[in-house]
């Protein structure tokens, strides 16, 4: 199969997945049996409040019509209007997404370093002291809930040794140094949370590849260990880790919800929480759709990258 056909079919499947996601979200939020407004606002809600929500959600129309209306608007780029603020969702979301994107990029850069180096050290020294030590550390970090890790880092570097700001509040007038300083703690938290998974996967796959026939032949060709590791082992070992990285991006989107909350970072995650607390259905739908789209895109990218790294995948699949 040519790489373009592969790519085309992958994109098609991704689009299908997103379509299903939209159906799922709509089903969960608006099409469960019973009156949507009462279910969401509770029985104690005033008749007026219920009426307002009903009209905002166009509940007088059948569910199918509402779904296609929403989907059509969404595809045209009209994300709807926030109930809570009355502003167009695109305007509310835009700056938040930019903030979260900055934070994610920062976190991702730290993640790459944090994941690759320990895994390589472990695989090369498998079975030795350093391997075990790193294994124990990753296991401990793996067991720390993200909200706890964030709180610990906050306590250590903002309370006990106050070198970094506790609240990562940034605004349009912050200088980039301020922004960078504000983002250090949340970004490090996110990076650690992602890296612990990747380290374990990369270590295992690297060890497996180091035991493979082709690495053995490369060694017996008389290649220097560095060449064996970087030219033969790593490119093949990285593929499983790529999938984890894609999964991790999904985690990152969930993780920002917690981490942004702990550090009061004005990003996408805090917006989602606010929307949920205010029962702002259109905003919830929009944010969840976008986070699913990011996840799907990340997986698509990982798949394509895997195929580029491993030519033999082009024939199977």
């Amino acid at each position: 199969m040519s790489i373009f056909r592969l790519l085309a079919s992958r994109i098609l499947f991704s689009a299908l997945t997103l379509l299903l996601v939209s159906i799922l979200i709509f089903l969960i939020l608006e099409a469960l049996p019973g009156d949507v407004a009462t279910r969401i606002l509770g029985r104690e809600a005033t008749a007026k409040a219920l009426e307002v929500l009903r009209s905002q959600l166009h509940l007088d129309q059948p569910a199918l019509v509402r779904y296609f209306q929403w989907l059509g608007d969404f595809l045209r780029g009209d994300l709807g209007t926030s109930i809570a603020t009355g502003r167009p969702i695109a305007d509310v979301l835009g700056p938040r997404i930019v903030n979260t994107l900055l934070l994610s990029l920062f976190a991702f850069a730290i993640y790459l370093v944090l994941a690759l180096i320990p895994a390589i050290i472990q695989a090369v020294n498998r079975g030795k002291m350093i391997d075990n030590v790193i294994s124990v550390i990753t296991l401990l970090l793996l067991s720390l809930p993200d909200f706890l890790l964030a709180t610990i880092l906050l306590f250590l570097f903002a309370v006990a040794v106050p070198i970094l700001p506790a609240l990562a509040t940034i605004s349009e007038n912050s200088t980039w140094q301020e922004m960078l300083r504000a983002m250090v703690l949340p970004a490090v938290t996110l990076a650690i949370m992602m890296a612990v998974y990747a380290i374990r996967v990369l270590r295992d796959s690297l060890i497996e590849v180091l035991r493979s026939d082709y690495v053995r032949l490369a060694e017996l060709k008389g290649l220097r260990p560095r060449a064996v590791l970087f030219r033969h082992a790593l490119p093949n070992a990285i593929v499983p880790a790529l999938n984890v990285t894609a999964l991790n991006l999904g985690f990152l989107i969930g993780g920002v919800v917690i981490v942004e909350r702990v550090f009061s970072y004005p990003g996408f995650g805090t917006l989602l929480i606010d929307a949920l607390q205010l029962r702002d259905i259109p905003l919830i739908k929009a944010t969840v759709m976008i986070s699913a789209a990011v996840y799907v895109a990340a997986n698509l990218a990982a798949d394509v990258l895997a195929v580029l790294l491993q030519p033999r995948l082009r024939i199977s699949r």
Partner: protein, 292 residues
Amino acid sequence: MTLATFISSRRFKVDLWRATPGPFKVGAVILVAHGLFAVLGFFWTPYGYAEMGAGLPLSGISWQHPMGLDQIGRDVFSRFMHGAHIVLLLSFAGTMLGMVTGTTLGLLSGYVGGWFDEITQRIVEAMISIPFLALALVMIIAAGPALAGAPVLIVFVVGLVYAPRITRIARAAAMEIATREYVAVAELRGEGTWSIVFREILPNAANVLLVEFSLRLSYAPILIGALGFLGFGIRPPTPEWGLMISENRNLLIASPVTVFGPGLGLASLVIGFNLFTDGLSRMLGQRPVAGA
């Protein structure tokens, strides 16, 4: 080595302790300790978990209050003790629900294939594409205030978040096992689908599923804690640990122990689960699949 032969082997009976990997042992000890603590906390706590004015709020660590007191004067240790069984039960029930649903769906989908598999996989794919925390939160919102904070809802949400992920693992295992020749032998004998799934495939997928269960169980307290932390979990004043950490977070400067006490409890429970999983997977010759 399969579990069945492992247990029936003499070595197992003679020195089980020495034969099991180190992490498994440490993990098991931690989990047993947590279990005993949870049972104790269910029957007895030094103060009532919702009892206000057990002491002076924010008075720090003392023998009477090893984890200090919270803002409204509740004994944090008593709350922590009472919370232990809640965290454990919710985690088990939620994971179990996900496991039963995911395993059944996944094994069937992987073995039967065809349209059934295609449809199942597309739905699973879509569910996994929604970040799990977002999915959980949306479901809680959709359930509405009437159900919000009810243990049943939390169990249901954990199960539903886990089910598609477990389905994937079970499906992959089933697909691999379905190519083995003993499955072909059963097919050639004319055995039915259910018989093949439960007689031939399930026992051979058991290792994978056991490790998966253990892995998911490790993460359940974190997921439940995160919901509590964000204010969408168990209804206060029930002392779920994530909720406690969230409640006491503004005491971080005044009395850090009120945060890190429950935090340590939560972390040690997850460490116990993770060590147990790690050892179990080594014993069963499986590799736990990382990634939430």
